[in-house]
Symmetry: T
Subunit: 69 residues, 12 copies
Amino acid sequence: MSDNVYKITEVVGTSETSIEDAITGAVERTAETVRDIGWFEVTDTRGHVVDGKVAHFQVTVRIGFHVKD
Amino acid sequence: MSDNVYKITEVVGTSETSIEDAITGAVERTAETVRDIGWFEVTDTRGHVVDGKVAHFQVTVRIGFHVKD
Amino acid sequence: MSDNVYKITEVVGTSETSIEDAITGAVERTAETVRDIGWFEVTDTRGHVVDGKVAHFQVTVRIGFHVKD
Amino acid sequence: MSDNVYKITEVVGTSETSIEDAITGAVERTAETVRDIGWFEVTDTRGHVVDGKVAHFQVTVRIGFHVKD
Amino acid sequence: MSDNVYKITEVVGTSETSIEDAITGAVERTAETVRDIGWFEVTDTRGHVVDGKVAHFQVTVRIGFHVKD
Amino acid sequence: MSDNVYKITEVVGTSETSIEDAITGAVERTAETVRDIGWFEVTDTRGHVVDGKVAHFQVTVRIGFHVKD
Amino acid sequence: MSDNVYKITEVVGTSETSIEDAITGAVERTAETVRDIGWFEVTDTRGHVVDGKVAHFQVTVRIGFHVKD
Amino acid sequence: MSDNVYKITEVVGTSETSIEDAITGAVERTAETVRDIGWFEVTDTRGHVVDGKVAHFQVTVRIGFHVKD
Amino acid sequence: MSDNVYKITEVVGTSETSIEDAITGAVERTAETVRDIGWFEVTDTRGHVVDGKVAHFQVTVRIGFHVKD
Amino acid sequence: MSDNVYKITEVVGTSETSIEDAITGAVERTAETVRDIGWFEVTDTRGHVVDGKVAHFQVTVRIGFHVKD
Amino acid sequence: MSDNVYKITEVVGTSETSIEDAITGAVERTAETVRDIGWFEVTDTRGHVVDGKVAHFQVTVRIGFHVKD
Amino acid sequence: MSDNVYKITEVVGTSETSIEDAITGAVERTAETVRDIGWFEVTDTRGHVVDGKVAHFQVTVRIGFHVKD
């Protein structure tokens, strides 16, 4: 069968500075163990507050990668 | 009838650097052909990954504009 | 009863520059009157458009805080 | 191909008096430029408040129309 | 067992004049065959358009009623 | 910081006659204690049925107001 | 009252071969006991897997029918 | 046609003591009139409060049963 | 105007033992400062895990209470 | 700005025979007037029933296309 | 503890010809590395368009399998 | 990069006696192979019915754990 199959893994990236940073961290960390990542989708944006200040952005991303034969 | 009517168009902006940039691109590109844009609403934040790095943020925005008589 | 109880308040932060700024503004403003904020969750990202440009990002955040005895 | 195709357009109608009026305004305004409208679906009911009173109902409707050959 | 059990039935009411009328019609028609209706909940508001005018409001209501022993 | 912050409160208005009346009641009652209300959004439309007739419309509205410095 | 009322019933059709078959089975089986079915809406598409192969498609459909006087 | 068809009915069970009890009550009450129930799914968990105490848990369950030939 | 108005507040109850306990805690704690609570609705069930064991159930409940004149 | 912008249009395809056919019809009809379509997404699968048989599948698809400079 | 535990994995199957084929491909590919698959659930149906024609159906399925002791 | 990354896995726990038991089983079973679990979130509560009685509660939980360097 020549049709492609992809798998989706869900990861939460965190960053003290920005949402983009949290996403980038989640993708790059996943890329250390998974090859052929093709896309991501943000499903949740939360964060931690300490002493009345945003301490971390916590961004849940679904990450899709190609399953090679 | 004096009551106002607005139309909503859906656009996906993309950016290599930030979610805000993708939104701004979608709004400004729409403004080239549509006048009287009043608001936008983000409905989806996705992205493209190449070689284990985020290549583009892809942000779907619903853009509302006033329909003039 | 020693189990903790938290309350959630919903706030819309706005910023001319970024989504993170709007979130930070909502959290810090809430922290002026509410102590022991622990987390936030983004539920809506909208914005105002003026003359075809994004004028404000408007981000709705649910903010959770500890109810002390 | 004899099977029919329909298009959906999204419009926000407004009214100072009622939700039905806002819907009717959105449909009738759309009918000025689009023929063969068949149905609508309400997806959002909001409103503007001025001086503690409801100033306008704002109703988002998806409007479906037949695409003729 | 003395605890109560309720059943939910889903009905679409229609009206040429208002959303309230469509709801009322759905409830009253259901009451002809079901006793002890306690509540309703609107889940969908749609309508039929003929010649560019709203012909009918179609309102889907979930109707809850007490199941007597 | 000159950017504005808004708060959202959730209220259920009720009316024996119409959905608009229930919304209006919720907004006006909230305006007795909260200044600078700017908008509302309907999230739920339910009702009470007595003797097979609609006794009350119960409409949940999220009400947004400006938090002044 | 001349306005029409419709009832919605929820049925799960199953098929070893296709989603369309499962839908058709659900509609035709319902038509054995209910007259004047007008429409259906798919709300869930699931299936059973046996020995690593799809054994059945299970499709939940909401089926609407006219309530005659 | 040998493929199976199932019907889904929606029931609200109530209990003064637990969510499981409310579910069990809804299922067992339905089993008095419907044979071949196969599964349930919880869609809503609410409750009644009297004098500042939880008086009843009210759990909405969708109950699926086999339609025999 | 004799029609009633209710307010909804969102609270997270926690318990080491059960979901019901977390709900009960949220309702009873709210009842210490708010009179005339009428109902609650569960919107989220989460929990904390420590050393591979569930340490706390965290249940978000929307609590509705009557606003007296 | 070199970043790409896409537009999304919503279309309902219909077919007497299959869901895939309805999707294909919606895409191909849209391609008659819009160039550079890149993707589609199914958001609703409904159908028309006549004399107890499925007469048409009606599939709502969101269709994305590249906005060229 | 004799109670069973299942795991859910998310996979995107693709097919040039049909939605069923895409589902089947996702399930069978997963079955090459995971035993005891019991069910699947479709959560997203998308596709790729090339030269105005549907090139691939892309179907996201959640696949559940038994975790053996 | 010092920011933390978490992974989410989805598991269905089952129990003959309670929802809490099903959650606990899912968490503890996952803890046998995954260290540093931090939280869970319930997304679905279903069950199996045999002979008109609830045979099993089936609770889907998303389980988050820390990805260590």
